[in-house]
Assembly symmetry: C2
Homo-oligomer: 132 residues x 2
DNA sequence: ATATCTGTTATATAATAAGTATAACAAAAG
DNA sequence: CTTTTGTTATACTTATTATATAACAGATAT
C-alpha cells in the first residue's frame, strides 16, 4: 500500500494512520466506496500489530469517514462525508490557535499565515490530481 | 495568575502550559522582559507538580521564547524572539496539513479554511489589546 | 458443509510517557 | 546566613501505546 509509518516519530502510529487516511480521502487518492486493506493485511504490510490498525479504523468509523461491512471489509464512506459540525469547528479553532500563536510570535503576519494555510490546502488537493 | 489548566484534557498539562504561554506572548499579555512566576509558585497556584511547570519552561527556554536568570527567575525573551526557521516551517506545515485535510473532507473550501486561519490569528492578537 | 477471511472482542504483557513526591544542590539576593 | 531561584536526581504511580495470542460470529467461496 501507499502508506508510510515512522516508528521513531513522537506521534502514535494509530494517529499517523488516521491522519494519512484522511489526507488520502482529501486528495481523492481514496474515493467514496473504495475498499481498504483488512486490518490484518495492512498490519502485516506495515510490520505493526493488528490492533493498532484496528484502532485507527475504529476512530475513522466513529467519525463517519469509514463504513464497515461484515466480510466486505472496510470501505471509504460512500453515503456522504460528515460535514462541518460544532465539534470540528472547536477542534479546528484549537489547532489553528496553537499554530497561529507561535507563527505570530515568530514574526509571521496574518496574511502570511493565511496564505500558508491556503497553500497547504491547495497542495493537498493537487497531490491526488491523477487519482485513478 | 491568568492561566487555566484542564486536568481532564487529553493534552498533557505541560503542553497546555507551553501553548498558553506562547499565546500570551502572541497576544502581548506577556511582553519581552516580563517576569514569570517561579516554578514552585505557579505549580502551587495551579495545584500541580513543580516538575510539570519546569518541563514547560525548559521547552520554551530551549526554543528561545524564555530566558532564565539565576535567582531572578524566568523572563520572557527580551533580546528578540526566534524567527521563522526550517524547523518551525516543517512543524507548521505538518499541523496545517492535518487540519486542512479534515476540513477539506468535511466540505470546507480553500477560501473558508484560509479565512478561518486569518480569523483565529486576528482574534489572538486582539485578545491582548488592553495589555498593561 | 467446510475451510477461509472479515471485523470484533477479550486478556495479558511490555515499553514508554506523564505526573507526582521528596530531597538536595549551587547561585544570587536580602 | 537565611531565603528563593532554577536545576538535578531518584523513586513511584498512573495512563497510554503497542504487541502477542486467542477466540468468536458473520459472510464468502470452494
Amino acid at each position: 500500500m501507499w502508506m508510510e509509518i515512522d516508528l521513531q516519530s513522537e506521534v502514535p502510529i494509530y494517529e499517523q494512520l488516521v491522519d494519512q487516511l484522511i489526507e488520502g480521502i482529501a486528495s481523492a487518492q481514496l474515493r467514496p466506496g473504495d475498499p481498504l486493506p483488512s486490518v490484518r493485511s495492512l498490519a502485516a504490510d506495515l510490520g505493526i500489530n493488528l490492533h493498532t490498525v484496528n484502532k485507527a479504523y475504529q476512530i475513522l468509523k466513529q467519525d463517519g469517514f469509514l463504513q464497515v461491512h461484515r466480510k466486505q471489509g472496510v470501505v471509504v464512506q460512500p453515503d456522504g462525508m460528515p460535514g462541518v459540525d460544532a465539534a470540528f469547528r472547536a477542534k479546528l479553532a484549537r489547532g489553528l490557535r496553537t499554530l497561529a500563536a507561535e507563527a505570530a510570535v515568530r514574526g509571521m503576519t496574518e496574511a502570511e499565515f493565511a496564505e500558508q494555510s491556503a497553500a497547504v490546502y491547495r497542495q493537498l488537493l493537487t497531490k491526488g490530481e491523477d487519482a485513478k
